[in-house]
Every structure is written in C-alpha cells, then in structure tokens.
Subunit: 332 residues, 2 copies
Amino acid sequence: MSLDSPITKPHERLAAALADEMGAVNALIRDRMASEHAPRIPEVTAHLVEAGGKRLRPMLTLATAKMCGYDGPFHIHLAATVEFIHTATLLHDDVVDESNQRRGRPTANLLWDNKSSVLVGDYLFARSFQLMVETGSLRVLDILSNAAATIAEGEVLQLTAAQDLRTTEATYTQVVRGKTAALFAAATEVGGVIAGRSEDEIKALFDYGDALGIAFQIVDDLLDYWGTDATGKNVGDDFRERKLTLPLIKAVAKADDTERAFWKRVIEKGDQRDGDLEHAIELLNRHGALEETRQDALAWAARANTAMASLPKSDLRDMLIDLNDYVVARVS
Amino acid sequence: MSLDSPITKPHERLAAALADEMGAVNALIRDRMASEHAPRIPEVTAHLVEAGGKRLRPMLTLATAKMCGYDGPFHIHLAATVEFIHTATLLHDDVVDESNQRRGRPTANLLWDNKSSVLVGDYLFARSFQLMVETGSLRVLDILSNAAATIAEGEVLQLTAAQDLRTTEATYTQVVRGKTAALFAAATEVGGVIAGRSEDEIKALFDYGDALGIAFQIVDDLLDYWGTDATGKNVGDDFRERKLTLPLIKAVAKADDTERAFWKRVIEKGDQRDGDLEHAIELLNRHGALEETRQDALAWAARANTAMASLPKSDLRDMLIDLNDYVVARVS
C-alpha cells in the first residue's frame, strides 16, 4: 500500500474531494452508534469505526451520488448505512474467523467477547435499516436488503467451501460477490438511484462497483501469496487458514497426483509443516496460477473502467477510474 | 403448559381461526429460507422453523390485520417477516447463551457450529427486510427496523447486566422490552398499520403487544423459580445462569447483609453449591418477591386487556384477550 507517495493515492484524493460530506457521514455515524440504554454498543462500535479504515464504501456512495448531480441530503444517510453494514459484517466475521487482529489492533471479540460482537453487529444492521428508511426510497431499501442477503449467503458459502479442494472458480466468484462485491455494487448503485439517473447509468454504476469489488478481493487474495513488505500484507495467512482462494483453486485444478496429495495434507487435513508455504508458492508459480490470477484481476478492473467510462465525464468519475486502477496497480 | 385440555388453549383456537393464513405464511417461509448457493442455510433454518414453535408472533400479525379488516396479501409477508426476525434472534441467542437445547432439541450451534448460527441468522435478518420491502410500506419498515434495533439493544443490555446485583427493575423492564416485547408490539402494530386504521387504534394494538410481551416474559422468569412439572419449565435455569430476573432483583433489594453475601457468592461470583437454589427460593418467598412478581405480571396483563378491549368487538379480538389471560393463567 506504499507504492507511491501519499498525495497521489486516489482514495486520498477522493477523501479530499469529499471532505465536507465525509465529515457529515462521520458525525451521523457517531450519532447513530450511540445507545441510550447499552453503553457497550458505542464502546465496541467506536473501537472499529474509529480504527481508521479508509471509508472506501461510504466514499463510493458519496462520489457516485455527487457525480450524478444529487443535491439532497440522503447520500449522507446512505454512506453511513453502507459503513454500518460493513462494520456489522466485520464484527460477525471476526467471530466466525476467530480472529484476534483487525487493522493492526485487537478485534472486538478479543477485547470484549464473541457475544458483544454478535449483538452489537445485529444492532448496527438494525441501525443501518433505520437510516435507509429515512431516505424514503423503497428502491434503495430493496437494493441494500438484497445486498445484505447476498453478503450473508456468500459468507455461509465460504464457510461450507472452506478446506474443500473441490471448490470451483465459479464458487469462488460467488463467495467474493458476497463478501466484497455486493456491498461495493450496492454502494455505487444507490448513488445513481437517489440522483434519479437513467436505468442504463444505474446499471453502469452497479457494474463498476461489482467489478471493482471482485478485482479488489482477487488482488487481496493474490497478495496473500505474492505480497512484499511494500504491500503490507502478511503472506501466508490464507494458506494457514486453509482458504480456497483463486490462486490455490487454479493450482489444484492442474495438480498431478503428488501435488494433489500435498494439497490434501496441508489444506484438507490441515497438517502444515515448515517449508510447506514455500512449496505451495512454488507450485502456484509452476502452474502459472499467480499470473493467471493477476490477469483475472486486471480483466475485472478493465470491466469496472469500461462501465465507469460510459458515464458523463467529471472529476469524480475520473477519480473513481483512478481508484480502480490503483487497486490493481498493487499487482501490475 | 398443560393446565387445560388442548381444545381450550387460546393459541390453538387462534391457530384454527387463522389456519389458511398460517398455511400461506409457512409456505412463504419455506420459499424464502431457501438459498440458491448455500444449502447450509435452509438446513439450519428448517431445523428451527420446523421444530414446532407455536408461531405466536406471526399469529399476532395475522390476527390483528384480520380483525382490523385488512383484505390485502401483505399480512402474510409481515407474519413471515416477524417469524424470520424471531428465528434470527434465536440463532444468535443460542450462540450468546452457549445453549445446547432449544424446544427440547439440540440447538443449531451444537448441530453445526456457532459460525453457521451467526451467518444464517444474518441471512434471515436480511430476508426479513426483503419481505418488508415487498409490502411497499415505509411505515412498516420504520416500525420493524426500530423493533430490530430495540431487540439488539435489549440483548446487549442483558449481557452487560448479567451477574450484576445492582441491576434495577427499570433495567429489567428495558431488557424485557428488547428481548420479548419489542417484537410482540411490532407484530400487533403492523397489523393495524397495513389495515389503515386510526392512530388511536394502532396505538392500542401496540400497547396490547407491548404489555402482552412484558407479561409473557415476567411469567417465564417467575416460573423459573416457581414452576412445577405441569408448567414444563426447568426450575433453576436462570439461577444457574446467574441472570438478574425480576424475582431476584426484588429479593436483592430487600436483602440484609447475610443475604447480600449469599447473592454475591452465588450470582456475582458464581460459586453455587448443593442447596443454594432451595435457599434462594426461600429468600424469594421470605421477601414476597415471587408474589410481587406475580402481581406485576397480572398488572401488565390487565394493561394488555384494557388496550385490546378499546378496539371494536370481534371474535379475533376476544381470542387475543383470551390469549393474554392464558399467559398469566399459568401463575394465577
């Protein structure tokens, strides 16, 4: 994440262009994460919300609404909605993954307990729906409730596919759509919807968010085998957690009997020894799995750019194209 | 729950009066708990949904909509919504309470795992919002998203109040509104809302559901110290789980120093020995805590009946009054 100097990072330029709106979003988030009766709720939420995530998803909503000429107040509500849904899924993910660290800090389930993470996540989901209701748009509620269902479905699918060497690329794409792309796509789609744009334009915004989300997740999964200090990723996490991500799925598909026995031992049985990660990376390279994964990410990024380029030119539109380029620049 | 013969049980008479509608609700539930991509979801959901709960909450929505003269299709959607929200909270509750049994069967978190319970619960929450969106009523969405927030808030409050001897009756009522009454009240309120009744009538329906829910939960908590085989309750569960329910709160408020030391040991420290439950029940009786709790339940039930009796007379209205009487009959 330090490929270039701060001033040129597209998400920072977006944040600068949307500074006023993001200020309003952050104020709304602080206001709505409060609870009159249960102080544990803002404690847990603040731990996550103030941990300094990049606020990518709310920025997508603000940017798309603004580039579509929206001048009402509700893009702020929708951006906060999207961040609440994201935060709720992070809380539940950490319980499901039994994680101890998130964004370099101890997770809520470690600091409090799994119970608090489950229930505070539920609270944030409910709060996110309250925010949507305030917009008065049934279409927005439809889009975001569908996204919430797709997210949960993708997470369950990921759970049942874990450690299963038969996992296909189609299943992987389905999981990624759920865990990442559904919320990206909803975040960009609702920007066009509240601005009252044409169906073609709304579809283009959806396609941009969907493809950006998939590219984003593929790059993340690729860097788990291909990362360097510069990317800030901890190489081998997915391998140790025995996740069937795209590079692995591609290598398993081309494995000979000896290699298949290796994958069965380390992924299915979870019997991992010194040198196994290095051997896994060697197999991924031998079969061109990392390069193919990289090409897939670039193809999704190209789709995102095609969709966005179909919309009227504006500074924000070009920043969203740059953001997309930046996501894959980490592996270009 | 076997105080009288099956034919006279009010919830069974309600079920008979609403048989067609409940058939439609069950069909809708089966349809919407399906998942194209993640078969784990209907497995887990079917385990709970088909476990033979009394479907009290969806019946409240059907009965109130019908007694208010509603003749559209959406009370079916709302009844399914309410049951989905209830099922989702049960799934999450069992994770939070680390339960092994629910309705006499092993819980989903035991049969599958906590992860599945968390994620399938999330899926059902999302599905419930999709169902609400289909009704096209923003007011209904407002009511039910508020209820969902109150439920989660009540659960968090219960979590942080557990084992805390300073818990007040006001906090207890707040918890009970969250864990039980909020969904009862929303279930009855939306029946009047989709039927387009006056604000006074909608308020009366809300008040009925709210008071019924609180009476229901107080009775449940009372029977945990006062139950017999006939009530089907397992006496002492709350004591062993160190929950500050109403009988205990009342007894602790009147405790002398020796008694306070006892409560500190068994509830705060959780150091429970043979004979402690019997001694606790003796203390509850000594201070009239069980009798006072019973009177509180009766007072809430009276409020529920007053609210319902303010509405136009009909067979369904009278069945709802009978249902409320039946709830407290277990302790009358």
